[in-house]
């Protein structure tokens, strides 16, 4: 039997400020391609066309334009929301499909994007509930100055306010910033129940290292007294942070490499064999793996037809046994139903899973089932007599 060859774009910034995470995503995508193509019985072969925008928005647009001009109808790629927003108009114009494989802040449902990463009701809301139950109700927010941090902080503020908690402060820094001395002193002085970290890439690693060092210098057991929570921290990032500050961070994710189960064991082993020099398997790698595999299964379901409408109908029919457990795509929102988990990082660069949902949770990108009708104001500041 002759296998049809279908070209797919793979677009990740393996250089630049979030190159570390993107490398994991590229690895996950390429592992899925290789596994698929190694199956001689598969009715079609995937031919990856790989490009690296290096974290520059203009290069995303140019490289994407090249891919679509070549006739590619399916591209797996992007990490930041700004890069996704930059290229969505091109996909809409060409009526092609972007398979977006990472967590994001939601409030989007493009009919030319399949979203295989989690949205707030699958990461941030479970995290907020966990932190309030186990650590306290006031948070200090530190984030990179872009939409991911702004919107997640708003949702957290709302969730805390609903439980009579509050966000003590929100501080934003340019992507790539590495000097956090001032905010670290402010956090130590404020003593919040926890820090909510929406910094990305090198900024996050520097902050976590410096915060741990400052807490040690002040005699504070940071993981126990002021834990840092996030929706992004993954296994390869723990390696980038370094052993001295890698442990004790709370993370919400739909995937940790420590998940038990045959499918994940197979995925982790294959991943380690293919990438012996690392980085290790993580949520971003799994999301990209899921995206490519869902695409391949949808192409089979559509009998090799690459037409976007046909594939969107097909993907709704696909049920996939992913490393994290069962995954399917919600036809109404084109977002994946995924299983939320809460993990705590260890010194050996893995995560202990502290809690997990019973099964896949339906995506709610506009939080229509998980937010109040009215905008919630933060709690009023506590006033003290100044003199």
């Amino acid at each position: 039997m002759t296998q049809a060859a279908i070209a797919i774009g793979v677009l990740f910034s393996v250089d630049g400020p979030y190159g570390h995470v993107s490398r994991s995503m590229l690895n996950g995508a390429m592992l899925a391609v290789d596994e698929w193509n190694s199956n001689a019985k598969a009715p079609l072969r995937l031919v990856p066309v790989v490009a690296n925008p290096g974290g520059e928005l203009q290069r995303y647009a140019r490289l994407c334009q090249d891919m679509l001009a070549q006739g590619l109808q399916h591209v797996v790629g992007c990490y930041t929301s700004s890069s996704r927003k930059e290229i969505i108009p091109q996909f809409e114009k060409a009526d092609a499909l972007l398979w977006y494989p990472t967590h994001y802040e939601g409030f989007e449902c493009s009919s030319n994007v399949i979203y295989t990463g989690p949205v707030a009701n699958q990461h941030l809301l479970p995290l907020a509930d966990y932190m309030m139950e186990h650590h306290g109700r006031n948070a200090f927010c530190v984030g990179s100055n872009y939409i991911w941090a702004w919107e997640n902080n708003r949702i957290l503020r709302e969730r805390l306010a609903a439980a009579h908690g509050r966000v003590t402060a929100e501080r934003y820094f340019a992507v790539g910033e590495t000097d956090f001395a001032q905010v670290i002193q402010a956090i130590i002085k404020a003593r919040p129940a926890f820090v909510f970290n929406t910094l990305i890439g090198v900024s996050s690693y520097c902050f976590l290292r410096d915060f741990r060092a400052a807490c040690i210098a002040s005699g504070i057991d940071q993981p126990a007294v002021i834990p840092v929570a996030s929706c992004t921290l993954s296994e390869p990032e723990l390696e980038a942070i370094g052993e001295a500050a890698a442990d004790g961070h709370i993370t919400a994710s739909v995937y940790f490499s420590s998940i038990e189960g045959a499918e994940n064991a197979r995925f982790v082993t294959s991943y380690a064999e293919r990438y012996p020099d690392g980085p290790v398997a993580c949520a971003d790698a799994e999301a990209a793996y899921i995206a490519v595999r869902l695409l391949a299964l949808s192409l089979v379901e559509a009998r090799g037809c690459t037409d976007v409408d046909t594939i969107k109908r097909a993907v709704a029919q696909v049920r996939m046994a992913a490393p994290q457990g069962p995954v399917h795509v919600d036809p109404e929102t084109l977002h994946a139903a995924l299983t939320p988990r809460i993990g705590r990082s260890r010194k050996d660069m893995g995560f202990d899973i502290l809690a997990q949902a019973a099964g896949p949770v339906r995506p709610d990108p506009y939080l229509i089932w998980n937010s109040p009708r009215f905008w919630t104001m933060g709690a009023p500041p506590v006033l003290r007599v100044a003199s």
Binding site: E108, C109, Y366, I368, W369, P372, W375
Partner: protein, 209 residues
Amino acid sequence: MRGARVVQNFRGQRGVLWGGAGTSVDILEASLARLGMTLARPAEIDPQDIDAHRDVLLIDGDSPLDATMEGPSGSLLSLAPAIGLVGVEAPSRLKALMDLGVTAFLRKPVHAAAVYAALFLAVNSYNRLRALELDLVEHELRRRGRRAVLKAVVRLMQTTGIDDDEAYAELRRESMRRRMSIEACAAELVAGASSSSADLKTPDLKKWA
């Protein structure tokens, strides 16, 4: 300003499409469904049933417009928050939509990614403007009532010999006791005093009660 709380979640609300038979609704309907909303056409509902807290009008500017959607007398707004669906960007059509009180525009063909932002702007601008309109009505009523306040203060001064500050304070206390605005209280007192000359000579305001 009255409390115009910002609405961010539109679940359970209803879009009412005021458009020509040819208006394409597929993307609009699917986009509203993702936001937890339904879409109805005027033929399916009773216009008297339009509720500004539940409904959002989607008015197609390329169709003939009528006064059915106009808001209460004296208001610049429509019956409910309204989005103008803009095909032809001619000033006459944009003005016609604006005259009906739309507070946001949505370009045709409708782009799914623009629906939430248009809805957010339409509903919240409507609520803010409506609150301002109600504030203005109230302020206008009070402004008209100032004449009665002046009259009541002058009469109190004349009948009791107190100065204007004391007279105003007395009037204010009386309005609070009666749980009404100072203007309405003054109007009642002045009207009562006009009908009974004896009251004007009474030094104790409580006797006016």
